[in-house]
């Protein structure tokens, strides 16, 4: 793919028209600057976006965000909406880590008054929040109890004392997706998941303590409870081995489904089935169950983070509590109603490495966020800023209510390990005042800031395009990684 194949619409918007390749059903719409586009063209993600346009039942355009990079089959940072009920659902367009997402907790603890405790806080967070590949979680549940987790998500956590009503209200879908069907989740997936609930995992998952560094929208920040100079916590993880197994199971099953329904695709990782087919319904039930597992997982980690804050700060200050700002998912297929060609239609919005970014007044938001739009949490790469944005009316009309999800890789994990030494990176981060607890030094190197795009540039792009609005910037002070 060459830049000449693309039509530039504005400084931050481009299009790959349907005549680019004979099998495209819809165009690709890109929210990128020329500089970011040139970076994106170093991998195969644009070809993957074009491949995604061949999914049956697509409406509008396949949308890609400025943090786009190459994934398996479907690009990360991609959004595709298929018409309900005859359009398809594709597990590969949602990803292996179903409902991977970010939770943001905030406090009124001033960093300056807590600076001396950061080393202890990092250690205690690391103690309470298990991390690493295959690591067991904070609790273990029976297979029968796990079915309740899969059915109810964060509501299960609430019933068992791990969540508050306020947490649920400030979680996408209140942390519990309707239509989850635990019977559609294989026993193998359940066995993988039941010991991992309440754990962080490895890869790019992390818990990060940040300081609110700058406020861009005072009113929105006040409503969210974000105060300049105060501590926040981000929790980035998903559905662990359970979600991976669900995706594995259905990508395998759908290899036969595409033959049955006569669907021809350029990449087998994009396999799909009509939403109203038995295969499509089964996957939707399983995917929602895995998503509920992820909501409960982040809720348990939030519970553990609160325990850590209590242990470190409760005897030192009065207001040490962490309140929830929001919990968002960035790997999911959701049934939503959007305007397409002037008509409101029900669609399944596949977001893979893309955040829902509903604007003011949108359904499903708690009353305080209906005024300002849904919080969008954009974690940066390790050691760089993270951002809190809000969705806008423009995101509803131009990107199926979606926005970017992070900085986006520019370097593969293996390349990052060749170029960066984990021990050196840790020293650099510590020298900048960032406390690091990492289970693996090679794992730390894989997540080096140089392996990612500049998150500030990504955020400026979506802000300038009008699909999100800046609220606050966060600066890291402690990172816990698997």
């Amino acid at each position: 793919m060459n830049i000449e194949n693309l039509i530039q619409i504005s400084e931050t918007e481009w299009e790959i028209p349907t005549y680019t390749r004979h099998d495209m059903r819809v165009p690709v719409r890109l929210f990128v600057t020329r500089e970011l586009l040139e970076q994106i063209m170093n991998d195969k993600s644009l070809d993957q976006a074009v491949n995604a346009t061949t999914l049956p039942g697509l409406v509008g355009s396949v949308i890609v965000m400025p943090d786009m990079h190459q994934g398996y089959g479907f690009p990360i940072g991609g959004i595709a909406a298929t018409e309900y009920p005859h359009g398809v659902i594709s597990p590969g367009a949602i990803g292996y880590d179903i409902n991977c997402g970010v939770r943001l907790l905030a406090s009124s603890i001033e960093f300056e008054s807590a600076r001396a405790e950061m080393d202890t806080l990092a250690t205690v967070l690391n103690k309470y929040c298990p991390s690493g590949v295959g690591k067991q979680g904070t609790i273990q549940v029976s297979l029968k109890e796990l079915d309740h987790v899969l059915q109810e998500g964060s509501r299960w956590a609430f019933k068992n004392g791990y969540a508050t009503q306020a947490d649920l209200a400030r979680t996408e879908e209140a942390g519990s997706l309707e239509g989850a069907d635990p019977d559609m989740v294989s026993e193998r997936a359940k066995v993988r998941g039941r010991e991992q609930i309440g754990s962080l995992g490895a890869g790019n998952h992390f818990i990060e303590v940040d300081v609110v560094d700058e406020i861009f929208d005072e009113r929105a920040a006040n409503i969210m409870g974000l105060y300049k100079g105060c501590l926040t916590v981000q929790i980035h993880c998903g559905s662990r081995g359970l979600g991976h197994q669900v995706c594995t199971d259905y990508v395998h099953q759908f290899q036969s489904a595409v033959l049955k329904y006569g669907i021809v695709l350029p990449d087998r990782e994009l396999v799909c089935a009509p939403m109203d087919s038995p295969e499509g319904r089964a996957y939707m039930g399983a995917m929602r169950a895995a998503a509920n597992f992820a909501f409960a997982n982040r809720q348990l980690l939030a519970y553990s983070a609160r325990r850590a804050f209590e242990e470190v700060f409760a005897n030192k200050m009065k207001n040490w509590h962490l309140h929830q700002v929001y919990d968002i998912t960035h790997n999911m297929g959701k049934l939503e109603t959007h305007a397409v060609n002037g008509k409101q239609i029900k669609v399944c919005v596949h977001r893979k490495g893309a955040t829902r970014a509903f604007g003011p007044g949108s359904p499903g938001l708690p009353p305080e966020y209906k005024k300002i739009g849904q919080p969008v949490i954009i974690p940066g790469s390790m050691g760089t800023a993270s951002w809190v944005l809000v969705g806008t009316q423009a995101s509803m009309t131009r990107s199926f209510g979606s926005c970017c999800h992070g900085a986006g890789r520019v370097m593969s994990r293996s390349q990052a390990k060749k170029e960066v030494r984990g021990d050196v990176l840790r020293q650099e981060l510590e020298a900048r005042g960032i406390k690091v607890r990492a289970g693996s030094l090679p794992g730390l190197a894989e997540e080096a800031p140089s392996a990612y795009k500049d998150v500030d540039m990504v955020v400026e792009t979506v802000s300038e395009a009008g699909i999100a609005k800046k609220v606050a910037r966060l600066k890291p002070v402690a990172v816990i990684k698997g």
């Binding site: 490895a202 290899q255 990782e269």
Partner: protein, 101 residues
Amino acid sequence: MNTLAGTVTGQSPRVKRTFKSEGPDVESLLVAFLSELVYYQEQENLAFDAFEIQLSDKQISVNMEGTQIISADKAIKAVTYHNLRVEETMRGVETVLVFDV
């Protein structure tokens, strides 16, 4: 796969497992089989090094033997179909596979 993950295994005790699957072609059978190994690696901390494989166009049946993993540099989380290729070459059968790590 064991080499890619940097898996180090013990000598004993040896354990045996069987695996059967169906799929539309050899590519899907390969992914299903390797996904089984991912499951054992994560769930039972097992790596396998001896295999007896019966393969047809749409079915695979495997008897395998292995031991406990002592250490691994990297865990493979899933086996993808992305850019999947199985080819007969002069040296036998070669495959291109992408793992999710």
